[in-house]
Amino acid sequence: MKMNNVLKMSVALLMLALTGCANVQPWQRGDLAKPGMAFESDQLLTTYRQHIAVSKEAASGDTTLGGGGCGCN
């Protein structure tokens, strides 16, 4: 898949997402606030495991800017 096509599809998906929200009242969001529901529910462990993945695999990219360090070996 060409990078330009992927970009266009992703932008379309984001626009669709903005119009796809349910009208959930604030007092109905108790379950959404449970610890396991956060997109990164354990930042410390996620940071550690992402560092390993970046050093062992070619791919990277997430809603994070990443950190430094070589991980060359």
Partner: protein, 396 residues
């Protein structure tokens, strides 16, 4: 039952923030964390080794300290991370043809012994109706220094069910490889540098009272010395390895989707992440991560998870080369080879008043068999590892 209006607004705000939280700029009370992890790669088996003998590989002990709090104002979160890593063992050096042309791995001769110290700080502050996050960090090894910084921002429109977020970061790295330019390693560079610009944008939204989702895109541009100074590639025509050589620029793109669904009757959250990645070195990859976050009683959380990963190869990668490529590139690094990987893990946490104890284990197995497409020749250096971690947190 009624409660003061401002207290209700604060509670609702906290619920929304928790539901749509993004890393680095989530609001928090004062908290300290300590994580210790041991990472151990499996030995290289003798039938994949050029020497015919098994070889130990890499192991890393990591200590990660975190302090987060609100030193200036209740809605401004400061965070400090200090990481110390002790690394040792041998790593893949080059791949050469063995019996019947089967690729076999040559490992680095001497055992590597190295330390890394990293300091990362972030500060979250609401300004002009947006939540801003500022990040900066420094990482130091004997042969590698990295300084990086970035700005992140998120916006939740009033009375809307979505949050928009984005960020941009920059990293500047300096390499001073051990024994670079020496008589023993004449092809190894002695100094080099590289820079990386990264950006992302995404939206997270509430689908129902039990379901949230997030879609994001990230772009990255690397420039400078992107080869690995400690690796070589074998050329049959000269019966010798040459220095690893890669393009001096790379652009990558990734789109990531995340879904969270809570099941009240089970007290559990289903977590699903998927990522598509494409880079202009022709590497394309897919990642799927599924986990189940189970609450037991009021104080236990058990989270088993599985992860599948697959990538295609870089356009210039080969296990070994018959002759030099016309563009001069050469790399036999297993991380640029086609393969797939399966990982399984389980993490356990227990709240004890203001303390939280935790631990977890993970096993990772890379193989051509797990790749999404058929792999002709598997790189002999593919890694298997396990890691175990212990953690302790204290809220104040």
């Amino acid at each position: 039952m009624t409660q003061p209006k401002n207290k209700m607004r604060a509670s609702l705000s906290a619920l929304t923030a928790a539901a749509l939280a993004l890393p680095g700029i989530a609001k928090a009370e004062v908290q300290t964390d300590y994580l210790f992890s041991h990472y151990q790669e499996s030995d290289l088996p003798g039938n994949r080794s050029a020497s015919g003998q098994g070889s130990e590989r890499y192991k890393v002990d990591t200590h990660l300290f975190r302090l987060a709090g609100t030193p200036i104002a209740a809605d401004q979160v400061a965070q400090l991370d200090v990481t110390y890593e002790a690394m040792s063992g041998a790593s893949p050096w080059w791949v050469q043809p063995g019996a019947n042309g089967k690729p076999v791995q040559v490992m680095s001769g001497a055992s590597i012994s190295e330390n890394r110290v990293a300091v990362d700080v972030s500060y979250g502050i609401p300004l002009a109706g947006l939540d801003w996050g500022l990040r900066a960090g420094y990482s130091s090894e004997n042969d590698y220094k990295s300084v990086h910084g970035g700005v992140e921002v998120q916006y939740t429109p009033e009375h809307k069910m979505y949050t928009v977020s984005g960020g941009i970061g920059y990293s500047s790295d300096k390499l001073d490889p051990t024994d670079g330019g020496s008589a023993q390693y004449p092809t190894r560079i002695s100094h080099a540098s590289k820079n990386t610009v990264t950006g992302y944008g995404g939206v997270s939204w509430v689908l129902s009272a039990q379901t949230t989702a997030q879609v994001s895109m990230s772009l990255s541009r690397d420039s400078g010395f992107l080869s690995d100074p400690y690796k070589q590639a074998y050329i049959i025509a000269i019966a010798s390895p040459v220095a690893d050589s890669r393009p001096d620029g790379r652009q990558t793109f990734a789109v990531t989707g995340k879904l969270r669904h809570y099941i009240p009757s089970l007290g559990a959250a289903l977590r699903a992440d998927a990522r598509y990645y494409h880079g202009d070195w022709s590497i394309e990859s897919h990642t799927v991560d599924l986990s189940w976050d189970q609450t037991i009683g009021d104080t236990w959380r058990v989270t088993p998870g599985v992860r599948w990963y697959s990538q295609s190869q870089a356009f210039f990668y080969q296990p070994y080369y018959a002759d030099f490529r016309t563009d001069g590139f050469a790399s036999s690094d297993y991380r640029l080879s086609p393969y797939g990987a399966i990982a399984g893990r389980v993490d356990v946490r227990k709240v004890l008043g203001k303390w939280e104890l935790g631990g977890g284990v993970e096993y990772y197995d890379a193989s051509a068999n797990y790749a999404i497409k058929n792999v002709g020749i598997e790189n002999p250096g593919l890694v298997q590892y396990w890691s175990a971690n212990l953690r302790l947190s204290r809220r104040f």
